[in-house]
Symmetry: C2
Subunit: 341 residues, 2 copies
């Protein structure tokens, strides 16, 4: 591991790398903020390593780093965002801001974004909104890696879905999950190491369950809870992809197979002004009660107490904000090179 870097230093590096590729400085900083928050929360597969990956696609013409998302409010609390094939987290932040603007005026607001790319993990968006008093529901479609339930062809993305609730008395509660049993990145790691997969994670290309990680990479991910996870993945694509005017299902271009093609991903952002539902005092007291009831549950394994969604990540975020974050040397070197250091 390299030396510990502060949040501001990491943000500066990531912003400069993005700006050097053509983004305006203010927009580069917005996009960098999402990835740096992910890195601080320990979501390293969706953190600053994505800067280089996004810029690879910019070089190939797959993403337009100079694109500025266009936001249209079609109703007082409803916005459509055309990402114009820009950097994903910039489109994501435009969507989040538009949803929060609607919620400020009307109590709840939504933004449907099309023409986007990989927008990072959901946790940073939900956190930024929670710090301003908003509960959120956020989702995106994704490159197809899942077969419809009962089918044997990948036609559905491992679509991420997140829900956040603010807590004036402490960390918010944030769920950020994808709808497969396991992430494709984990299967890639196991394939690289030659280790077998646990059962129930994936099938091979013929739709047969497999524990061979390489066969699984050629096959598809299994959804969490069988038909229930399938159903949720379908609904996320209908909201984030179909209603937003983006590509959906097999129309989505795979960033790894066709990095030079525009993906036209879609996202949905819903923000609710929780300050209009309860006073900060009431909300803090009810959240403390809620969290306490779950924490006080007798644990099956006393060494592993019951936790809230996002609790581990938000605790790591607080710690790494205070102590700095240690980025893998190779990744830090790459980021510094991209930033022109």
């Amino acid at each position: 591991m390299s030396e510990a870097l502060g949040e501001a230093a990491l943000l500066d590096l990531a912003s400069r790398a993005l700006a050097r590729a053509g983004m305006a400085p203010a927009e580069a900083a917005q996009a960098a903020r999402v990835l740096v928050l992910a890195e601080l929360a320990g979501l390293t597969t969706h953190g600053i390593s994505r800067v280089g990956q996004y810029l690879d696609r910019v070089r190939l013409g797959g993403i337009d780093a100079r694109a500025v998302p266009q936001v249209t409010r079609v109703m007082p609390a409803l916005a459509m965002v055309d990402g114009r094939n820009g950097i994903g987290p910039l489109v994501g932040m435009a969507g989040l801001e538009a949803a929060m603007a609607g919620a400020r005026d009307c109590g709840i607001g939504a933004a449907f974004a099309r023409g986007s790319n990989h927008f990072g993990p959901i946790l940073p968006y939900a956190l930024i909104a929670a710090e301003q008093g908003f509960a959120t529901l956020i989702a995106s479609n994704a490159t197809t890696t899942i077969a419809p339930w009962g089918g044997k062809d990948t036609r559905l993305g491992n679509n991420p879905l997140g829900i956040g609730v603010p807590n004036p008395g402490g960390d918010p509660v944030i769920l950020d999950m994808a709808l497969s049993v396991a992430a494709r990145a984990k299967i890639r790691d196991l394939a690289a190491s030659g280790a077998p997969l646990p059962e129930g994670w994936a099938t091979d290309a013929q739709g047969q369950p497999t524990t061979d990680a390489k066969a699984a990479l050629a096959g598809f991910l299994l959804p969490v809870g069988g038909h229930k996870g399938y159903g949720l993945a379908v609904m996320v694509d209908l909201l984030a992809g179909l209603l937003s005017g983006a590509a959906f299902l097999s129309h989505v271009q795979a960033w790894d197979k066709n990095p030079e093609a525009a993906q036209n991903l879609g996202h949905v952002f819903i923000a609710i002004d929780a300050t209009k539902l309860a006073s900060a005092e009431t909300l803090a007291a009810r959240m403390a009660d809620f969290i306490g009831i779950l924490h006080d549950t007798p644990a099956a394994d006393p060494a592993r107490p019951v936790m809230l969604p996002g609790e581990r990540e938000l605790a790591m975020l607080r710690r790494q904000r205070a102590e700095g974050v240690r980025v893998k040397p190779a990744e830090l070197d790459r980021l510094r090179a991209l930033a022109g250091n």
Copy 2:
């Protein structure tokens, strides 16, 4: 099975049964509509059999059949509903109408309901909204039957979550799911028949996995996808229970153990005016494309083609609307007695 009953006849019976217990006729008809739609869609555990169950609790003082929900718009698109411990589907319809009213004015609307009771399944609400052009996200908390992930005490409900997307060219797509692997009603059926449970459905009272249905009834349900289903159930309770001002987690009274106590359940309704996102022609064409891609997926078992969420239920609803519905004779007799026939 008894003779086939038309939708109107069943609605009349259920409405009269509810009105006879004290509901105003217009409100009885609203609540009955939810349960009759559920019955027609084949959701018989959440259909007209609930009329008698709700009225049992009315007799015990657990539900106030005369209560009229009070709706307060706290912002142009945000309403709070005090159900005043009324019949659940009446509170539910008040919440749905308030969310749709907000969406008509602002593009998206939400209602948070407290002081409620079991509100039936989500599919009827999502269907009523979809027929008027609204996409919906609807959820409720519930009596605690699930242990937090890693815990060994029931502190979380098997909270239902539904998402609906309208389709001007055919049936909408509606997901209506609870967050356990299997419904408690199925375990009750297996316990009654003496059959064992499949593995992974439930644990006994000590938190140990069990295939003994009777032991499972004394224990708790396992969430779908382990920590992911647990996380979703937590977030649903935060939205539907905590933010609405209702009871949450173990504060929710069990309708089966304490039928005479007010449950103070909470629901959340979010409605999005999809007509503002795309024209009916565009939306119908995109839905047909989306549904076609999934239907055309090669099936693992050719006898079981890939289906969309809610497809089976909505097809049954259309058929039973045309042909009438056959209700179990005992249930029909009970409903007729309650209606004063």
